[in-house]
């Protein structure tokens, strides 16, 4: 393999991995705090992508690239803010009505409502935006590129990677250093004890959903910007892969989830490089199984005794 191809693919993997990482963060947070495999999370990501699509095409009426960097930055700031806040609210609403009433129910009950919510979100988007894929305006011009070791790197990709990195570190800081972050970690570990510290469990869980869903929303915006095409079905498998990423990294561990996301990006990209793309999903899951067999806590997770 030539160096330029290696560099190019490495960069491709970083970009793709960024999207998985953003979705995986929310997955891991939600799982960490209420141990729910939130199958609707991938669809929250999808709704985020459509919200961005709507913002860009209807109120902003954009259809092509925006070349003025200041304007571009302004637009990006606007759509990321609006989409993340909106998706955060959507996440909180979902938690409130579909998961919270079942917090003491048998474990499988919320798993099923999660899938029910996934269907509902998909169908709503399908009815509102139609079932065909939609073209998202690629506001980053495709020609904005630079050369690196013979590879052609797009500023769009760089932006996506840096944005993901920034959000990952911001989340780390939030969970690791702040009072609310501590409350989240305490709640995740021992809900009753956290209550005895004065933590409002319901509010903490709602905040977790808000942040996780906002990050998935950011992932959705990034997805549309990068691929220029979205559809109401893109959420499920992306969500599944992101969940795999979360497990690979050690569920509940935000660094792990991010690394897991990048890892899956690499598996997919390099299986494409070696002519094995149609096996990539099988490879991802095979790696998942192997990791769990040999290191059940995931790559960065701490060994933990699990609730039966």
């Amino acid at each position: 393999m030539e160096l330029s191809v290696l560099v190019q693919q490495f960069f491709n993997a970083l970009t793709l991995g960024s999207i998985y990482a953003l979705i995986a963060l929310g997955y891991t947070m939600v799982y960490g705090i209420i141990e729910l495999i939130n199958f609707a999370h991938g669809d929250v990501f999808m709704v985020g992508a459509f919200t961005a699509f709507w913002l860009l095409t209807v109120p902003l009426a954009l259809h092509g690239s925006v070349d003025n960097p200041v304007l571009l930055a302004g637009i990006l700031l606007l759509i990321f803010t609006v989409v993340m806040v909106f998706m955060g609210i959507v996440g909180v609403v979902i938690e409130r009505f579909a998961y919270r009433p079942l917090r003491n129910a048998p474990r499988l009950a919320p798993l099923l409502t999660a899938i029910g919510v996934s269907f509902i979100l998909q169908n709503i988007i399908q009815v509102v935006f139609g079932s065909s894929p939609r073209r998202t305006p690629q506001i980053f011009g495709n020609d904005a590129r630079f050369d690196l070791l013979g590879a052609s790197i797009s500023f769009r990709g760089v932006f996506i990677f840096l944005l993901a990195l920034g959000l990952i570190f911001a989340l780390q800081a939030f969970v690791g250093r702040t009072r609310l972050g501590r409350a989240m970690r305490s709640t995740a570990q021992d809900r009753e004890a956290a209550q005895l510290m004065g933590v409002n469990i319901n509010r903490t869980i709602a905040i977790t959903f808000f942040i996780g869903s906002a990050l998935a929303g950011a992932g959705g915006v990034v997805y549309g910007l990068h691929f220029g095409q979205i559809g109401f079905t893109i959420g499920f498998s992306a969500g599944l892969k992101a969940f795999t990423a979360a497990v690979l990294g050690g569920i509940g561990n935000t660094t792990g989830a991010a690394l897991g996301g990048f890892f899956i990006g690499f598996v997919e990209v390099y299986s494409g490089q070696f002519g094995l793309f149609r096996w990539s999903e099988a490879l991802v899951f095979a790696v998942l199984i192997l990791v769990l067999v040999f290191r059940p806590s995931g790559l960065l997770g701490q060994p933990l005794t699990e609730r039966a």
Binding site: L111, L112, N123, E281
Partner: protein, 392 residues
């Protein structure tokens, strides 16, 4: 039901030691159970074709289509009964159950199609398909069953994703995405089943479901069944009571898988076709929903849950347009309900779970657990200090 539950409780509390003196009594009730399953299934089997000849049903769709639906519902009942062994009895969450369905189905395709050149009769293929699925169940289970709870669920989910991909990408051996067609339909004493005569398939399906229910009831009441429940309740305690948890869990996996294999053989023989798109995650999830909705651990409940959910998916949601066209409400007849299938299905799932999180027909044992374990307060949900997740 009560008797079985009491027996269950007694045996659990005494640490899985079978009270020898009770054996004759148990024997009687086991025989009784089998008879009641046979009688029940016979009644249902007779009633269904008759009921659909009556007006509301007969105008909805043709009798033959009803019978076809019932037969296919039987496939899902088998699947749900099998998954119930794994999830409901042994408490192991399997999110990739469709893989075993696929293995059974492809086993039949390899054993009885022009593609492979073999024509092993249907009846032994039922056993072979079940066996193949069981072998894969063990192969998957052996290295992974020491994982607990959700980790096992994730491994099975991965396995469930891999299996259809392997079938789809192995063109030479499976005809890839085209699937294998022209499978031989079953023969019985020279009579060849035909794809347009549903009644023979219906009868075979009734027999298979009856047999599966009897066997699973017997399993549930056996030493093995009690070991499963002991593991479900408290694996550590079960292990310290001398239960070999690995073997016991593997058996649950293998038996659950073999039921799916059976369903796979039947389904592909009936359809005379098998292809990789039939075994996607949606199938695993649907079967899981059937088990949970029916009431985990309750065999009749699970069977009924499977039947109801299948009918909702394949008849009701598909027929809403017809139904509302006949209703004299203009708005309703103008709506294309096919478009809203997912919305309605999603709403149905969510509302059913919110209203009855323990399922429609929870086993008495489960119901008791629920009512003692849920003081209705957020706090009491996780007494365990080392709860599974935890953010880092």
């Amino acid at each position: 039901m009560t008797i079985q539950d009491d027996a269950e409780r007694r045996d659990l509390s005494s640490g899985d030691r079978m009270p020898g003196g009770l054996a004759p009594v148990r024997g009687f009730f086991e025989a009784h159970r089998s008879i009641s399953v046979i009688v029940g299934m016979a009644l249902v089997g007779l009633a269904l074709p008759l009921v659909v000849m009556l007006p509301p049903f007969s105008t909805f769709q043709a009798g033959a289509a009803w019978m076809n639906n019932f037969t296919l519902a039987g496939v899902y009942i088998l699947l749900a009964l099998g998954l119930n062994i794994v999830v409901g009895l042994a408490g192991l969450l399997d999110l990739g159950y469709a893989a075993f369905f696929a293995i059974g189905s492809y086993t039949y395709a390899f054993g009885a199609s022009p593609f492979s050149g073999l024509h092993i009769p249907f009846w032994p293929m039922l056993l072979i398909g079940a066996l193949m699925a069981a072998i894969f169940g063990v192969l998957l289970g052996a290295p992974t069953l020491r994982l607990r709870g959700d980790y096992l669920a994730i491994v099975t989910l991965g396995f469930g994703e891999i299996v259809p991909i392997v079938f789809k990408n192995s063109d030479t051996y499976t005809r890839g995405t085209n699937g294998i067609s022209s499978l031989y339909p079953p023969d019985l004493l020279g009579y060849r089943f035909s794809t347009i005569e549903i009644l023979p398939f219906y009868i075979v399906m009734l027999l298979l479901v009856t047999l599966a229910m009897i066997l699973i009831y017997r399993l549930q009441e056996s030493r093995l069944g009690r070991s499963w429940m002991a593991i479900r309740e408290d694996e550590l305690a079960a292990a310290s009571n001398g239960i070999n948890t690995v073997t016991t869990k593997l058996l649950a996996f293998a038996l659950g898988a073999s039921t799916a294999g059976l369903a796979g053989v039947f389904s592909s023989a009936k359809l005379t076709f098998t292809g990789p798109d039939q075994f996607l995650f949606t199938v695993s999830f649907t079967v899981l929903a059937m088990v949970v909705l029916g009431g985990m651990g309750n065999i009749w409940g699970v069977a009924l849950g499977a039947f109801i959910l299948y009918m909702i998916q394949s008849v009701l949601l598909k027929g809403l347009n017809q139904f509302f066209d006949a209703v004299p409400v203009p708005i309703l007849s103008d709506i294309d309900f096919v478009q809203y299938q997912f919305l309605l299905y999603g709403l149905a799932l969510v509302s059913m779970m919110l209203l009855r999180p323990e399922g429609l027909f929870p086993s008495k044992r489960r119901r008791r657990e629920l009512h003692t374990a849920a003081p209705g307060d957020d706090a009491a949900a996780t007494p365990a200090q080392e709860a599974g997740g935890a953010l880092q």
